[in-house]
């Protein structure tokens, strides 16, 4: 299976994406997934359009991307975390 590229993005690329990045790193280890994480600002997503397989973000995205987008706010509030993890897992296991 090809290694997946996962973009982790927030508005500033400082605070929230760091937390989300940590949570997904743990998931990758736990489930032994073949994926690379790239932590970026949401404004930088465009330059990864050709390579990325998934975008996980706490910022809003009005733009359409050629890959699925998962909202990761639950990693910050603890509400609905399991559902979000499931969404990410499904995409990475494809």
């Amino acid at each position: 299976m090809k290694k997946k590229q996962v973009l982790v993005a927030c508005g500033a690329g400082i605070a929230t994406s760091t937390v989300v990045n940590g949570a997904i790193e743990d998931m990758i280890k736990e489930h032994n997934l073949n994926a690379d994480l790239v932590q970026i600002k949401i404004s930088e997503v465009g330059s990864y359009e050709d390579t990325a397989d998934l975008l996980v973000t706490t910022a809003m995205t009005k733009k359409e991307f050629p890959f699925p987008v998962v909202n990761a706010r639950s990693f910050l509030t603890g509400i609905g975390t399991e559902h979000t993890k499931q969404e990410i897992l499904e995409e990475l296991k494809k």
Partner: protein, 162 residues
Amino acid sequence: MSDIYFNESIILLDVEAETREEVLTTIGDNLVNKHLVQPSFVPAIIEREKEFPTGLPTAGVSVAIPHTDVEHVIQKNISVAILKNEVDFGVMGDDSEQVPVKIIFMLAMDEAHSQLSLLQKLMQIFQDENELRNLVNQTDKKAIKRILEEKLNFQELEGGNK
């Protein structure tokens, strides 16, 4: 790498404001006066909040974590403000929803992608309804400082940066 600045002088209680711009200006101006951030920090954080809202609806007391780019920060710090009355913030990642926010953690970081364990500990507080209620009911800045120092474990974090 410098330590995180955190003490009573950047904990604000009973902050009165009608709008989120007022809230952000009050907290930000305090940091400017203490030379912890550049004057450009205040307009930058207001702009960022418009574009990427940071309100987080939690199970108990809703919070916001405004932050902006590292170049506006002189010394990294976390400022806390408890509002007299809730003020509406946009919900993070959702351009249609607002959330009435009671407590603000303004994150002034001086390096991107750092402070993972600190941020994770902060998020753990957000996930603890009782702890948030406990925090907003405090009337003494020292008590808030003590609770957060214990929960965020600043000492352990020193030198533990990525």
